[in-house]
Symmetry: D3
Subunit: 281 residues, 6 copies
C-alpha cells in the first residue's frame, strides 16, 4: 500500500511554494553553505504512524543529498519517546523541508491513530470503519490513505467514482425506484448503486429497486438492527450520521456492514512528533 510519487510531489511542491516562497531568509543568511546536520524524529505521544514515504520524499525534494532512514513503517504503533526516523545531510535543505514534512506526517498519523482506535473498538464484529468526502481540499489522497493505514476502508473517492443517491436526488427523480433506475441506466456498469434511506419504507423500496448498498442515515441502533433483519443480506448496509460521537461497538453489533465517520478526517488531532536536529560543527 503506497501513494504514488506523482501525488506526493504535487502536494509537497505546492506546500514548498507556499512555505518557502522566495527563499528561507533566515537559513540563507545564518547557515554557512555546505553545513551538515543530523536529527531524529521522536514521537511525543503514542499513536499509529502514517506518512513515512511522504516525509522521505519531502526531504528528497528539498535536497536530494539528504539521507532519511525510517525505523518504523506506516501502520506501526509507536509509544511516547520512540525514535521513528533519522535524517542527515545539508542543514539548509533539512530546515527548508522540516515544516512541510511535519505538518503532513502529524496530520496523517493523527488520522491513522484515530481510525485505528475506531477499528479496535469494533474488532471481531463484521463491520468495517469507512471514511467520507469530509477531507481537506487537495489532501484527499493523503487523508484516505491514512484511513487505510489505520485499518479502515475507503468510501468513494469523489463524485465521479461512486453513486450515492440522497434525499435530494430522490426528491428530484420522483422516487427511490426512479432514481435507482436512472443511475443504473446512465452510469457505468462498473459502479455499485448506493441509496440513503431514513425509514423502513424507504429501505424496502431501495431493496426492491436493486440498490447494492443502503446508507442508514441517522437511525438509532434499534432501527439499524431491524434494518439488518429486513435486508437479510440483499444489500450492504452502511451506518452514517455523527458516527464520530457514537459508541461504535454498539453500532457494529447491530449487524451493519460499514460504519462511515466524517470526523476521521474533518476534525483531526495532529499526532505530536518532533524533529530534534543537531548541527555538525
Amino acid at each position: 500500500m503506497k501513494i504514488d510519487n506523482r501525488h506526493i510531489d504535487k502536494i509537497v511542491l505546492a506546500a514548498f511554494e507556499e512555505d518557502i516562497g522566495t527563499g528561507d531568509i533566515t537559513t540563507n543568511t545564518t547557515i554557512p553553505e555546505g553545513r551538515l546536520a543530523s536529527g531524529k524524529f521522536i514521537a511525543k505521544e503514542a499513536g499509529v504512524i502514517c506518512g513515512m514515504d511522504v516525509v522521505a520524499r519531502t526531504f528528497f525534494l528539498a535536497d536530494d543529498k539528504i539521507r532519511f532512514e525510517a525505523f518504523v513503517k506506516d501502520g506501526d504503533r509507536v509509544e511516547k519517546g520512540d525514535v521513528i526516523a533519522e535524517i542527515n545531510g545539508p542543514a539548509a535543505g533539512i530546515l527548508v523541508g522540516e515544516r512541510t514534512a511535519l505538518n503532513l506526517l502529524q496530520r496523517m498519523s493523527g488520522i491513522a491513530t484515530r481510525t485505528a482506535e475506531a477499528v479496535e473498538k469494533i474488532k471481531r464484529t463484521k463491520a468495517k470503519i469507512a471514511d467520507t468526502r469530509k477531507t481537506m481540499p487537495m489532501l484527499r489522497v493523503f487523508d484516505k490513505f491514512a484511513v487505510r493505514v489505520g485499518g479502515g476502508s475507503n468510501h468513494r473517492f469523489n463524485l465521479a467514482d461512486g453513486i450515492l443517491i440522497k434525499d435530494n436526488h430522490i426528491a428530484a427523480s420522483g422516487s427511490i425506484t426512479a432514481a435507482v433506475n436512472a443511475a443504473k441506466q446512465g452510469a457505468p456498469h462498473t459502479l455499485k448503486v448506493e441509496v440513503e434511506v431514513e425509514t423502513f419504507e424507504q429501505l424496502n423500496e431501495a431493496l426492491e429497486a436493486g440498490a447494492d448498498i443502503i446508507m442508514l442515515d441517522n437511525m438509532t441502533n434499534e432501527m439499524m438492527k431491524k434494518a439488518v433483519e429486513i435486508t437479510a443480506g440483499r444489500a450492504k448496509l452502511e451506518a452514517s450520521g455523527n458516527m464520530g460521537e457514537k459508541d461504535l461497538r454498539e453500532v457494529a453489533e447491530t449487524g451493519v456492514d460499514i460504519i462511515s465517520i466524517g470526523a476521521l478526517t474533518h476534525s483531526v488531532k495532529a499526532l505530536d512528533i518532533s524533529l530534534k536536529l543537531k548541527m555538525q560543527l
Copy 2:
C-alpha cells in the same frame, strides 16, 4: 478584511478537480436538467463563523446562476440552530459545490472559534494570540485568515517573509550575536529579526545583539515573568511551546506580548454546519 478571489479560486478549483473529477455521476443521472433547489445553512453548534466569502465564491464557481445570501458575516458569533445563509438556484450546481463549501466553511469556522476562545481568555491583558506555520499545506491563506477573523494575529506567513533564528541557526552561526548580525546584514531591511531563546543568558545576548522580537521557548510562567523584567521593553516577547495546552490567562499575565499557538491550525475541530436542501418540484 477579505481574501482575494485569486486565492479562493485557486483552492476551490483544485478542490473541485479533486471532488468532482469527471463529473457527479449521481446528480447527472438522477437530477433532471434545469431542476431548481433552495436551502439553508444551519449552525449545528455555537461558534464563530468564518468563510462566508469562500462559500459564496464556491457556489458561483460551481454555477454562476446560483444565488447565495449570507445572514452573518465573518467573525459573527452564532448559536446552535441559527440559519446563517440561504441558497437557491440550479440543483445540480448546488449539489456539486456543497461538499467543498462545507469542508472549507467548517474548517475555517472551527479555527476562528478556537482562536476567539483563546482571545477571550486573555482579554484585558496586553498580549495577542498568534498563529504559526503549522497549517494545512495549500490552505495557509485560509487558515491564517480564520485566525484573524477569530481575533488573533498572524505570525510570519512563510520562510521568506519573516526572520526567526532558532537553536540550529545559532549553532551554525556560532552565536546569537553572529546570527543576528548575519540576518541584519543579508536580509531585507524591512523585516524584523526574531530570535528563539531558552535561557536568560541567551535572552541577554539576543537583546544586546538588537533582536526585535524574542521567542521564549518552553519557559515556565515564572521564567517568562522574569524575562519580561529583564527585557524592559527593549524587544517584543513571544511565548511559545505547547501553548495549546497551557492556561493562556496565566501566560498572558506574565507580561509577554504574543502567545503563539500551533494547535489553532494543526488540530482543528470542524464547526458543525449543515446545508438543508429542498428540491423545487
Copy 3:
C-alpha cells in the same frame, strides 16, 4: 447530459495554445479590425451530431462577442447538406476558433455516429454497447461523452474508478478467488468487481468468488452462449475482444449484457462537417 465547462475549457484552451500559438499571423495582417462575418456549419455526410456545446463554448472562448446558434442538438441524426448551426460575429475570432471547433466536432460526431450504428445493430436485444479505455490521451471525457450520445454506455473511466481483474492480476494473486477477495478487501465497497475469463473453468471460479461482472475475452459466440447459461444471472457478462470486427447482432443474441468495443474510440473516422463563412463587407 452535458459536459462541464470546466472540462471543455481545459481542452479548448490547451488546443488554442497549440493551434494559435503567438497569434494568427494571417488573420492579424489581413482582416481589418472590427470586420464581422457570418457562416453556416454544414454536414457533408449523414451521421449523428455530437459536440454542439463544445463548439459553442470554443467560439465563446475565442471571442465572447461571437453568436452561435445550433439547429440540432447532440444525438440528432443529420443528412448530407443539413445546416446544423449558424455563427456570426467578429471575423478574427471566428477564424481563430474554427479549426479547434471543427477538429473536436468532427471527432465527437464520428464516435457518436459509429456508436449509433452499433446500437442500431443490436436493438431489441438486452445487450448494451460500451466503450473502453482506448481513447485519445486527454480527450477521454469527450470520447466517452460521444459514446453516450450515440446511445452507448460507458465502461470505467480510468484505473481508479473500476476494478477489472485480468490474466496478469490473476497470475500475480495466485488464483481468481484470491484476486477477487483481495479486491473486495482493499478497494472501496462502492465499486463492483469485474473479472476477465477465457475458459468455463475460470468462469465458474469467478462466479463462486462473487465477481459482479465477468468479461468473456475472445470467446466464440458458441462459448458465450454457454457462458450465459452457466452464469444464469449470477453476474453481468461482457463480451470483449475485437468486437469492432464482429457481427454485433450475433454477439448480442448470445445473451451477454455488455459488448465493449475499443474501435469506437481508437479508430475514429471524422464525420465530415464544414464551416462556410461569409465576410460582411
Copy 4:
C-alpha cells in the same frame, strides 16, 4: 528525428493523470509489492512503426526501474506477428503505463502507416505528401511527427508559424493583391506567403502579387495540370481538398509540388499492436 522529452512528458503525464487518477485500484489490491513481469510488444498487423521513444519514456515515467528494449525503430516496417519490443520490470508500473503507451503507439503507427502508403503511391514523382492542422487537440506534435516518420512533410504547425491566405482573408482585404501585400508588410520576413485559389484568374493574381506558395483548392486534375503550366515554377503549388479520397498518383502527375491530406490525422485507424505480459512467479 526525435521528439523532445519536454513534449513527451507533458502529454504522457497528462495521460497518466487522466488514466490512473488516484491510483490503479485493481493492481494496488491484487499485485503483491515487488512482483516483476516481462512482456513482448507484438504487431497484430503489418505497418510502419512510430512512437518507440514515446513508449520507452512512458514506461520510464511510470516506474524508472522498468527496462524497455526496442527491436525496431521509428519508420521501420513490420509484419503481422513481429515482436517489436520487450519490456521487463515491476509489474505494477508496467500495468499502469500499458494503456497510455499502447494508445499513443497505435495512433502514431496508424498515422505513419497511412502516410507511408500515400508516399509509396506517388514515388518517383516530385510531389511531397503533407499534413494539415486537422490533428487531435494537444497531440499535434505527435501527429505531425508520425507524418514525418511515414515519409511525409509537415505543413505549418499552427496559425503563428505560417501564412495561409484563404477566401475569407481575401474577401476581407479586398483582393488577393491587397492581402498578400498586407501579409508581407506585417508578418515576419522569415515566413513564406501562401494563398488559396480556386480559379486561374486568382492564380494569376496570386503569382503577380508574389505569393511563395499557392494552394489549389478542390481543382480537378485537369485544372491542376494547367495551373502547373501557368505557374511555370514561379511558386510552389499545393493540391488540397479531400485528397484522402483521390488517386494520389494522378494528382502527383499533374506536376504539383505538395499534396496535403487532412485524413492522415483526422481519421486515424490505429495499428493493432498488443502487449503480452507474463508475471514472474
Copy 5:
C-alpha cells in the same frame, strides 16, 4: 494590431502572483474597504507609448470595477507632462495593480520609443528595422509587439517558426549547400531559409543554394554594399551584429533590406511614466 487577452492574462496574473503574493498588507490594513480613488497617468519624458491595452487589462484583472480611460493609443508620440490616461475606482484594486501596470507600460514604451528612433533614422530608405530573440524570458510577445508598435518588423518568434542557419549549423552539415538542402528537405515548406554569412564566398554559395534570406554578420558598410551588388535581388539581405551601436542611416544606405538590432529589447531604458493618485475622501 493587438495582443490577445490570453497572452496578457498569462503574464499579468503571473506578475500579480509575484508582486502581490498573499496580499498587499499595507493596503489591506490602511485603506478602508470601499474607498475610491482616481488618478492620472503622466508621461515624465517624451516618447512613443506602448501597452495601453495591457494596462487596461491589468487593472480589470485587479478589480473589474476599475474604470480606465486611455487618451492615447499604442504608437502615439507623447511629450513630457502629457496626461495619457485616467483611472478611477476602488483604491485597493488600483494600488494592487499599479506596479505591474507601470513596470510593463514603461518597458514596452521604452522599446517602442527606441524602435521609433531607429525607424526615423532610416526613413526613406527601403530598409526595415527588425528585432531578435534577445528579449526578456516570458515577455517575448510583449517585447516584439512593442517593436511593431514602434514601426519595426519582427524577426522569427522562436526556434520553431524560422530557419536561421548559422556558422555552427554549417560546420556540422559540412557546407552551406548541404545545410540549406537539409533545411529545405526537412522543414515545413512554409518557412523561408535564412543563412548567416561572413564572406563573399559564403554569400555566393548561399545564393546558389537557394537561400531566401541572407544575414550579413558583422560586415563593414563597404562589404555590405558589395554584398547588395552581388546579390542583385536574388535574396533578402539582413544586416546584423551590434547594430545598436552603428550609424543606422549609413547601414540602410548600403541597400540591405533588414537591419536587426538586439539592443532594442536586451537593453531597454524604461520610459518614465507615473501614476498620480488621489483618494476620494
Copy 6:
C-alpha cells in the same frame, strides 16, 4: 548566496517553452544526431558576472549530458576578453539552450555591474544601496539576486512581505498616525513599518507614531541632511526618488541609511557576453 533550483527551473522551462516552441527546426534538420560541440563564454566588456548557476542549470535542463565549467563565480569582476566558462557536449542541446542562457546571464550581469558601480560610489559611508519593485515581471527573484551579487541590499520582495505606507495610504487612513497604528495592529508583528514622507512635519509625525523606517521622497540633499538630524537614530532613513540620476556619494553623505534605486532593475543595460562554439567534426 544561491537561487533555489525550484525558481531557476520555473523560469528556464518557461523560457524554453517560449523560445524553442515545438522544436529548433534549424538544428533538427542540419545538425547530425550525436554531433558534439564545445565552446567558451567570453566577456565582451568589463563588468560583474551574475547568473553562473542559472546558466549551468539552463544547459542541464536542455540536455543533461552537457558539461559546463565556470571559471568565475557570481560577484567576480571580469575584463573584456576574459573567458568566463567553457561548455561541451551534444551540439543540439547547446544550441537550444544558448539564447535563454545568454539572455538571463547578460541581464543579471548587467544589473550586478550597475549595482556594484553604485556601491563603489558610496563606499566608506554607512549607506546601503537597495532595489525596488521596479523589476521585470516574473524575473524578480533573479533581478533581486543580481542586486545582492552586486553588493546591494534588497528592499521588500512584494506587497505581502513589507509594509510601506505611502501618500495614498495616509490620505485614506486620515493621518500618518492612524495609518501606522492600523498597520501595527493588523499586520504580522514580524514586519517593520515604513512610511513615506515629503516634509519635516510628516517626518516628525512618523517618528512619533513609531515608524521603523522612513522613506524620504524626492527630498534635496539639504533636506535629507536635516531629516537625519531630526531623526537622531530613532528610525532608519531611506532616500528615494530618481536616485538613478543623482550623485550617490552626495546622497550617502547626508547620513541616510538606505538609497533605493529603481533604475537598477527597470532600465538594465545587458552586459555583453558571447558564446563562441566549435563543432567537433
